[in-house]
Symmetry: C2
Subunit: 207 residues, 2 copies
DNA sequence: GTCTATAATTCGATAGAC
DNA sequence: GTCTATCGAATTATAGAC
């Protein structure tokens, strides 16, 4: 364990600096400083900047949806499942918003890396959001809790409504200044609004 | 006019290269090549890279919502207005998706520039989407075409649903490969889905 | 206004001692 | 494994001729 400590310190610092500055804006020296190690060690452990960057991307993708879901959502009716999912998703995205923006930016700019990252990210349908939500939609429709809806449409709607605000947040906050307390209120309101919109759309009554 | 030709060539090339590569990834030489001029002229007309970058940001923001709206939407009932707006907005975003992603990325990373750009962008409520939609919502609610809804919520829902797919598109296309024809079909379907979702939510009957 | 040539700097990467 | 010292490439910016 101990012998990997430096390597992990570098990786953690690299994630931080790359996410903050982007690939081209990140400096090896700054990563070394953030990790508290000599710059040379970055090359010792990770060969060069490109390699380190790729490892950082893979780590970020691997950690993306680590802890949004847990087993305690398993037994819930779809309405409660959706409510809890949106609640957790917002909190989760609020923590990881910088990482999401970083991924969408860097992966859009480097098809080769994108391909590599996607290929290596094994998507387990039992633990990733897409698979879980799809299964839940089918199950709930079969039980008559909701009407039948296209998985792709519903998931795209949900993720658009959950994610977009956080990606645009720095710009939004410049136009409509909010302190952290106000932001927390806005997030709470958005959770309720998104749930209301989506649930009204799929619940059975009133078609 | 003629004497400004070189300056405009440089500006157009700079927009292209900055949007494609980001500020840190863009090279003055590449911009010069794209403009077909000597690299020195970039400094002659725009002093340095920072200045050119700032001018590029301002131009992109100024051109953002140039031609989505025209007067022929003025007389439409809200339902048709919404339908046409979403239709045009999607087409517009599809063209400018790279510019949107660039803005959200760069402005998030540079608060000082963000402040500068926002301060200089005069928002005319009669021609920008936010002002127009707000006025339309009030008008339609007063006429009884739709129920009363919060402007901020509705606009955030609309822009989330319109924009997010395009920001995530490179990643989506890697996971679900689509040729251009397939993409056009998907966009068409998303237009219909977004309209359906939003209209069902605000129409009067069935609350 | 435009060009060539080059200065000045930053940064990734490596050599080699310990 | 870690450090110091330094190389060499890339890149922005400028000096000065035309």
């Amino acid at each position: 364990m101990k012998e990997k400590q430096v390597e992990q310190d570098i990786m953690n610092a690299a994630v931080k600096v790359f996410v903050e500055k982007g690939k081209d804006g990140a400096r090896m020296q700054e990563i070394a400083d953030a990790a508290g190690v000599n710059k040379m060690l970055l090359h010792y452990y990770f060969k060069d900047k490109d390699t380190l960057f790729l490892e950082v991307l893979k780590k970020i993708v691997a950690d993306l949806y680590d802890d949004v879901f847990s087993e305690d959502l398993a037994g819930l009716p779809f309405k409660e499942f959706l409510y809890v999912f949106i609640d957790r998703h917002f909190d989760f995205l609020n923590k990881k918003k910088a990482a999401f923006q970083f991924l969408l930016w860097e992966l859009s700019r480097n098809r080769a890396v994108l391909k590599d990252v996607v290929a290596e990210s094994y998507i387990d349908p039992d633990t990733n959001p897409f698979g879980i939500i799809s299964a839940r939609l089918d199950e709930a429709a079969a039980k008559g809790e909701i009407r039948r809806v296209g998985h792709a449409d519903f998931i795209m709607n949900l993720f658009s409504l959950d994610l977009f605000m956080f990606i645009a947040l720095p710009v939004i906050r410049e136009i409509y200044p909010m302190d952290d307390e106000k932001l927390a209120t806005v997030i709470k309101q958005r959770k309720a609004e998104v749930f209301r919109l989506l649930w009204n759309d799929i619940k059975k009554d009133c078609v």
